[in-house]
């Protein structure tokens, strides 16, 4: 089968690519577009390291066919900071040491941002259940949950 031509918007920029029909969004991001911030931890939607948003919805990019991105707006970790200015979540993750090895961090941040976009004042339980699809083996989640809660509070105070 010949390759598919896909037009999409990634992190606010128009993007075109060719892909095989069976290629996942994650494979295209990583192998065709050099956006390696999204990680493959499992390839089965269990670890969340490949989390992206598609038209604002949080998904595992390993479970999405790249061809499905036609006409959609994709956001990845690479689009989260504005040049030199980190997103408040990114900044808080650094300040509070909410990462150790850092492999889950991109997915964790994308997921956390999707939570705060939807719910600016989550409880600890809400954070924990929202992030239950993002595995971290290093931190025991403690500092991650605190960083998300602290960021939410900081954003609310600024607003």
């Amino acid at each position: 089968m010949s390759k598919l031509h896909i037009s999409t918007i990634i992190n606010g920029e128009p993007e075109e690519f060719l892909c095989e029909p069976e290629e996942t969004m994650l494979d295209v991001l990583r192998d065709r577009l050099s956006l390696t911030g999204s990680k493959e931890g499992c390839g089965s939607g269990d670890c969340g390291a490949c989390s992206i948003t598609v038209d604002g919805s949080l998904i595992c990019s390993c479970l999405m066919l790249a061809a499905e991105s036609e006409g959609k707006k994709i956001e990845t970790i690479e689009g989260m900071s504005d040049g030199e200015t980190l997103h408040p979540l990114q900044q808080k993750f650094l300040e509070e040491a909410a990462l150790q090895c850092g492999i889950c961090t991109p997915g964790m941040l994308v997921a956390a941002k999707a939570l705060l976009d939807e719910n600016p004042d989550p409880t600890e339980t809400e954070v924990r259940f929202w992030l239950a699809g993002n595995l971290c083996r290093c931190t025991g989640y403690d500092k991650i949950v605190r960083a998300v809660l602290d960021t939410a509070q900081e954003i609310r105070e600024i607003k």
């Binding site: 990583r30 990680k39 390839g43 690479e78 650094l94 040491a97 850092g102 991109p106």
Partner: protein, 749 residues
């Protein structure tokens, strides 16, 4: 050293690699490419145990797009009769682990590998390889493997004079347990089992290797030691170490599981054969089937205690699964089991048992959680038997400075006693428990390690600092190195850049493992930085034309040491860097050390559980870790180690296990069915860092990374007893197991 005057040591600075990691720019094992790169894939055994009669690769080789196919004949052979030791590994086993040679020893064992222009073609080519197997009877469980009529994995391994699956033993003895037990008022003897669990790093093994026509080899890979990668790859490919440059990628978790190679030698040979850079990445399923895990075990522990709470004798026997090739962590199990206690009579014995499972790899304090689980459960029971609080029993028997441990050493100043004291007086202990809730405690020990580390500290021309060490940073060690260097030089930590060198740019450095990195590299960096300070003083002395002894280094400036030295304006690091050429050339110093004095790490954990008796789910509702951390150079990352270890322990205790089907094949090789703790499973994990500085380290550092995984298993088991009145003797205490126990009790009543 961690006093209020410290500017950087003990401060929660931003890690040097942080910005890259929160923006997705950090490059991990699978994140790089090279021009002309092709893809490698591994063909794995579909049988748990089989002789390999022959392999025909001709069809695969003729598939368009296939550039190379390899089997064990392409990998350096080390005959079975002579050990070839590298660190704690034996290359006889390593060569057979990366590629099956005479036999496939487990389902998923590599038997061939392919490199092709696409992953798809490589997959197709693997299917075209024809392997003629003679399927053999197989065995996966310890009890089956040590039966007299068990299928034997390796005929050359003998135990008690005949071929056996018991590949080795280790014994520690102190005093005379027989006499000790005679003195006891109460003796409790119990048997336990634990299941194999995987390290569970989120990043699968990955590498990219390029071999030039002249044999010069570049390896980019995620590992816990670029020098280990270089040495093992060299030994498995016959390419000299001087021709191999192993570059450490950022590592996405290891926990011990990346202290050996799996893919690097294969990619190297495929690259050499094809003349193209070869990238190999394991799938999660491959990770679960063919890398790690740590051992499953069975054990029996017997303890004798007097009514006054003194433990007079202790005996432990441990059988640990090694997987298909010898080398289970019996040293950690038998060495660490009784190490927190001053017991006059101890006998600990371990057996290394091979069976048709993937070869075990190190996992955070290898063996120690298994050793401690049985001991800490029995301590709970002897404490109950004499009516004494289990923490008081631990306090009474706590090892201290001068205690001779059964595994050999006489302890210097250690902080075990303090961890128990802290637990006894902590508010956690006073929180009332509700219905079906319980509280448990347990302690643990890990050896910690020193060994070889190198560092280079260079002053840049603009007066800033670049530090290079040789250890992959797995949990924030660069941040701690920046703190130490900035403290010694008296400058802002942001002026210190910390990098991990590759094997061509920094001297030999042993693994990121054994909780050794900050201990050893902190020593090397301290040594290098002190040399730099000597040089800076000499340069100031030259400029001022005074004796170097008359120069002090303080807060980033050279100053005359008192009025007698002369009246000179202080010289900053920037000024001295600017004048480096005229005062003797570039400013920098290196150190290559074999460090010693790591000394042990101790921890005590307290855990509250609530049992859902309808579903059998044990929920952790409160958790506090008390640990002697020596000195917390960067407290956030010390807490992070304590929390991460506790979380892994919770997974091991409650849910994680390898499940085998009737064909000897892992039935749960993915994160859905291999159930690691997720965010909603856990509460906040509280930490109490107790600083008893290691007297043998310039900053007082003790390893902190591994001991946090030692106490949780028993702490949770003891808490479940407190909640339900049921004592479990096997892990995991998963919902079906808990439900069954509840049903059995109901039936008995």
């Amino acid at each position: 050293m961690n006093d209020a005057n410290n500017k950087w040591i003990g401060k929660r600075t931003i890690r040097p690699d942080g910005a890259d990691k929160v923006t997705g720019q950090a490059t991990f094992g699978a994140d790089t490419t090279m021009p002309g790169m092709i893809w490698g894939k591994v063909l794995r055994s579909p049988h748990a145990h089989a002789n390999i009669r022959s392999i025909d690769t001709s069809k695969a080789e003729s598939l368009p797009g296939v550039k190379a196919v390899i089997t064990s004949v392409d990998v350096t052979n080390y005959p079975l009769d002579k050990p070839v030791i590298l660190g704690i590994q034996d290359m006889r086993w390593m060569t057979r682990n990366v590629m099956a040679r005479e036999k496939a020893l487990f389902h998923g064992h590599p038997v061939a590998a392919v490199a092709a222009t696409s992953q798809k073609i490589a997959d197709q080519a693997c299917k075209l390889i024809e392997v003629d197997y003679e399927v053999l009877p197989w065995v996966v469980e310890i009890d089956d493997a040590i039966k007299s009529d068990a299928p034997i994995l390796h005929e050359f391994i003998e135990f008690e004079g005949k071929p056996s699956n018991i590949a080795g033993t280790l014994e520690h003895k102190k005093g005379d347990v027989q006499t000790g037990f005679e003195e006891a008022d109460v003796i409790v003897e119990r048997s336990f089992t634990t299941r194999p669990v995987h390290q569970g790093y989120i990043e699968p093994h990955a590498c990219l290797v390029s071999v030039s026509a002249d044999g010069r080899t570049t390896i980019w890979s995620s590992s816990q030691g670029q020098f280990m990668v270089r040495a093992m790859t060299s030994m498995l490919t016959d390419i000299p170490q001087s021709s191999i440059r192993a570059i450490p990628a950022e590592i996405g978790g290891g926990f011990g599981g990346k202290t050996i190679v799996y893919l690097e030698p294969l990619a190297t040979i495929l690259s050499k054969k094809s003349g193209r850079p070869v990238k190999m990445v394991m799938s999660r399923e491959e990770v679960m089937r063919a890398s790690g895990p740590t051992s499953g075990s069975k054990s029996t522990v017997k303890m004798g205690i007097k009514k006054d709470g003194s433990i007079v004798a202790a005996q432990g026997t441990y059988y640990l699964q090694a997987g298909g090739l010898p080398g289970s962590p019996i040293r950690g199990a038998v060495g660490c089991a009784f190490a927190p206690y001053d017991i006059p009579n101890v006998h600990a014995l371990g057996y290394d048992v091979v069976s048709n499972r993937s070869k075990v790899a190190a996992y955070r304090a290898p063996g120690a959680p298994i050793g401690a689980f049985a001991v800490e459960c029995v301590i709970d029971e002897v404490s109950e038997a004499i009516g004494m609080d289990p923490l008081e029993v631990r306090l009474k028997n706590a090892a201290k400075e001068g205690t001779k441990a059964a595994h050999g050493p006489v302890y210097p100043r250690i902080g075990y006693y303090e961890t128990v004291e802290a637990a006894l007086s902590h508010p956690h202990r006073e929180i009332p428990l509700g219905k079906l809730q319980g509280r448990g405690v347990a302690s643990g020990f890990w050896f910690n390690a020193g060994g070889e580390s190198s560092s280079q500290v260079n002053i840049t021309e603009d007066g800033n600092v670049v530090v290079t060490t040789g250890h992959p940073d797995i949990g924030g060690s660069r941040a701690s190195i920046a703190n130490i260097t900035a403290e010694l030089l008296g400058i802002d930590y942001k002026r210190v850049s910390v990098l991990i060198g590759d094997t061509a740019t920094i001297g030999y450095s042993n693994l990121t493992g054994g909780s050794r990195v900050l201990f050893a590299s902190g020593m090397a960096v301290t040594d290098s930085t002190e040399k730099v300070i000597v040089s800076l003083k000499e340069r100031a002395a030259k400029i001022w034309d005074i004796d170097p002894e008359a120069v002090d280094w303080e807060d980033g400036y050279a100053r005359p040491a008192g009025a007698n030295a002369g009246m000179f304006d202080p010289l900053s690091l920037e000024e001295l860097a600017e004048r480096a050429t005229e005062t003797g050339g570039p400013i920098g110093a290196g150190s290559q050390l074999n460090t010693a004095g790591a000394e042990g790490g101790f921890a005590t954990h307290m855990c509250d559980v609530e049992v859902d008796v309808e579903l059998g789910i044990v929920r952790i509702i409160r958790y506090t870790s008390f640990q002697d951390v020596g000195l917390a150079v960067h407290p956030s990352y010390v807490e992070g180690q304590m929390q991460g270890g506790a979380a892994q322990g919770i997974g091991w205790a409650l849910n994680e296990e390898y499940i085998y089907d009737s064909e000897g094949k892992v039935d749960n090789p993915g994160f859905l069915d291999y159930r690691m703790p997720v965010c909603s499973d856990l509460p906040m994990l509280d930490t109490v860092m107790i600083e008893v500085p290691n007297p043998k380290h310039p900053q007082g550092v003790r390893g902190v990374g591994e001991v946090p995984l030692v106490p949780p298993l028993a702490a949770i088991r003891n808490a479940i007893y407190d909640a339900l009145g049921i004592r479990f003797y096997g892990l995991p205490m998963s919902p079906p197991v808990v439900l069954e126990a509840l049903e059995q009790r109901e039936a008995a009543e």
